[in-house]
């Protein structure tokens, strides 16, 4: 009667297989491999899509399984990007400065080097001093640790305050929106120390790496695929056992779980923080592929899109989140990229760059009304039909 964790969840193997086939296919068709069927910029788009799938899984865990409609998880995604971006920018600028000072008559003092880096990075915001938060920017291990620690700590503190006061439902959603809005507005200020509305840029250039972007884009694709695969297995494991039972119980009837003797607040805090960390890792992989991060990325609307992807893909099943995120974000790239021919109606021409949002909103409403299980619900229909056939 007892089966292993993988045997009980056949979707995991199917998913990993699809992911591996996808990654190999893209790799073999890329520029780096000489095939050139898929452009380097499209490899980056696909790599970024994998990161979006990962953050969608996190969203599904917190919303679809635990019932917390967080509309602020993109804040953690963005913070992860900022943390890795600080190192990328610092280390690359350090190399550029070292090269330009190498031919100076008098060897520069370490302080002069740091000042020169500061001027390079903060010139755009009229400063040359490193703010204290850049303390560890020279160290890759430190910034990698901060990718996890900063968003994790923010989620822990925010979650502790919110859950302890038993803020639930739509009030919690509003609170999370306020959090991401506040963070975004704060980062827009030059005084925030993260270059205000300029954000961090040039992140696609890996310091000390001379390989072309054709290769770098592939590395990040592999890294993103690996992270998505690991994230999927980890999340599937978390929801498979008794822990999964408890969080689904919290989603369906919080008070009942409390009277069973479980500390609902503790579980919510765990899931909120855990998913924030997954989102941060996804962000740290996403932004080096995007090349730039600015505070606009964590505007409230981004987190709402995340919820829309998960709703369209199907809540409460991990592959649903992946399907939703991949499908909607790729279709969105297609529509907003101006590649779709306009639709002339005679009296009015539908320009998809503008009308795509209407289409997205409409499909969200239709899915919510007529297919609450989303695209993932189609798999239920298929498996049910097979049962009937047998």
């Amino acid at each position: 009667m007892r089966q292993s964790f993988i045997a009980r969840n056949p979707s995991i193997l199917i998913f990993l297989l699809c992911l591996a086939v996808f990654t190999l296919a893209v790799t073999s068709m890329s520029h780096a491999m000489g095939a050139g069927v898929i452009s380097t910029s499209f490899v980056k788009t696909l790599g970024k899509t994998l990161c979006l799938c990962l953050v969608a899984i996190a969203m599904d865990l917190v919303w679809g399984y635990c019932g917390i409609l967080s509309l602020g998880h993109f804040a953690f995604f963005g913070l992860g990007g900022y943390m890795i971006g600080m190192w990328l920018m610092y280390a690359r600028t350090e190399i550029i400065v070292a090269e330009s000072l190498a031919n100076a008559a008098i060897p520069p003092t370490p302080q002069e080097v740091v000042d020169a880096i500061g001027t390079q990075i903060f010139g755009v915001v009229g400063s040359s001093d490193f703010p204290p938060i850049w303390q560890f920017a020279h160290s890759l291990p430190a910034q990698l640790a901060l990718v996890v620690l900063v968003p994790g700590l923010l989620a822990l503190v925010f979650g502790w305050l919110a859950f302890r006061s038993r803020v639930t439902g739509v009030y919690l959603s509003i609170l999370t929106q306020a959090m991401t809005l506040a963070l975004s507005l704060y980062l827009f200020q030059n005084e925030s120390g993260l270059r205000g509305n300029n954000g961090l840029s040039g992140l696609q250039n890996l310091p000390g790496v001379s390989a072309s972007q054709d290769w770098v884009s592939l590395w990040f694709l592999w890294g993103s695929a690996l992270a998505l695969g690991l994230g999927y297995v980890l999340c599937a494991w978390v929801v498979s056992g008794k822990f999964g039972s408890v969080i689904r119980g919290i989603r369906d009837d919080e008070a009942r779980v409390r009277f069973l003797g479980y500390s609902v607040e503790g579980y919510k805090l765990f899931i909120f923080t855990f998913t924030a960390i997954i989102a941060a890792v996804a962000g740290a992989l996403y932004y080096p592929q995007a090349g730039i991060i600015n505070p606009g990325e964590i505007a409230p609307i981004a987190s709402i899109y995340l919820a829309v992807w998960v709703a369209i893909g199907g809540r409460g099943r991990l592959y649903g989140a992946v399907i939703g995120a991949a499908l909607v974000s790729l279709v969105s790239t297609w529509f907003t990229g101006g590649m779709v021919p306009s639709l002339p109606l005679g009296f009015y021409t539908v320009d998809w760059v503008d009308w795509w949002l209407v289409l997205l909103g409409l499909s969200f409403v239709l899915v919510t009304l007529f297919a609450p299980k989303g695209i993932g619900g189609l798999f239920d229909l298929l498996s049910r039909r097979r049962e009937v056939d047998q």
Binding site: G241, F243, G249, D253, F259, G266
Partner: protein, 246 residues
């Protein structure tokens, strides 16, 4: 008999309406007790207070040998201390299997990390089987509990309560919506359970209470009106007036 639960002088006011006024009584170890009273007598509010859902304005609720003050504890801690509650409406986790429902209720460490690494042991599986047997759901373990009949859900909830191994069970209208046969089964179950733990049944169906054959507390307007055997309290003129006078 030493008191397991001692409620003394509690009062609660909701928006100026006194739901409970100066309510005091005791429940002993392994006692079966029925609480009856007309609608609005404060039965459910009493349960909410004891389980930590509602905080009273004044009074004390003491628990066990150590006389721990339940009013200072959170719901989950009260449940862990050994106080189980069955709701009036059957509340089971409908999209999970009967087995998962029982496993979740089983008395095991309740922490997030403990649950993350928990895998049911042989003993746990056996215990789930026993519990399912006891409440008549042995052949329904793998079914989704949302598919069960109303009566089966009630029993599943009683089974979950048993899985918690509480020292005191608060059972709110267990017979509501049950068929006659299901009621008899439920009566036997409750009488049996009370041999090893205290059971408090809140009910307003006199016939059901008569079958339980136990001490009865009559609540009226938030305080105790009468206490004793069912025959004793039904002869009390004040009880007759409350029940029949309106």
């Amino acid at each position: 008999m030493s008191a397991l639960l001692e409620v003394s002088g509690i009062s609660v006011t909701f928006d100026g309406y006194k739901a409970i006024r100066n309510l005091s009584f005791e429940i002993g170890e392994c006692e079966l007790r029925a609480i009856i009273g007309p609608n609005g007598a404060g039965k459910t509010t009493f349960m909410d207070i004891v389980t930590g859902k509602t905080k009273p304005d004044e009074g004390k609720v003491l628990w066990g040998e150590m006389s721990r003050n339940l009013l200072k504890m959170r719901e989950s801690k009260i449940a862990q201390a050994g106080l189980g509650r069955k709701f009036q409406r059957p509340t089971v986790f409908e999209d999970q299997s009967v087995e998962d429902n029982l496993l979740m209720a089983l008395k095991n460490p309740r922490g997030a990390f403990a649950c993350l690494f928990y895998r049911p042991s042989k003993a746990d599986r056996a215990r789930v089987g026993e519990l399912a047997e006891e409440v008549g759901l042995a052949d329904q373990l793998s079914r989704t509990s949302g598919e069960l009949s109303h009566g089966q859900k009630q029993w599943l909830e009683i089974g979950m309560l048993l899985a918690q191994e509480p020292r005191l069970m608060l059972v709110d209208e267990p017979a509501a919506g049950m068929t006659l046969a299901e009621r008899e089964h439920t009566t036997d179950l409750l009488v049996n359970l009370a041999k090893t733990r205290a059971v408090v049944v809140v009910e307003h169906d006199m016939e059901f209470v008569r079958r339980l054959n136990c001490r009865v507390t009559v609540l009226h307007e938030g305080s105790v009106l009468a206490e004793g055997s069912l025959d004793h309290v039904t002869k009390d003129p004040r009880v007759i007036e409350v029940y029949l006078g309106r």
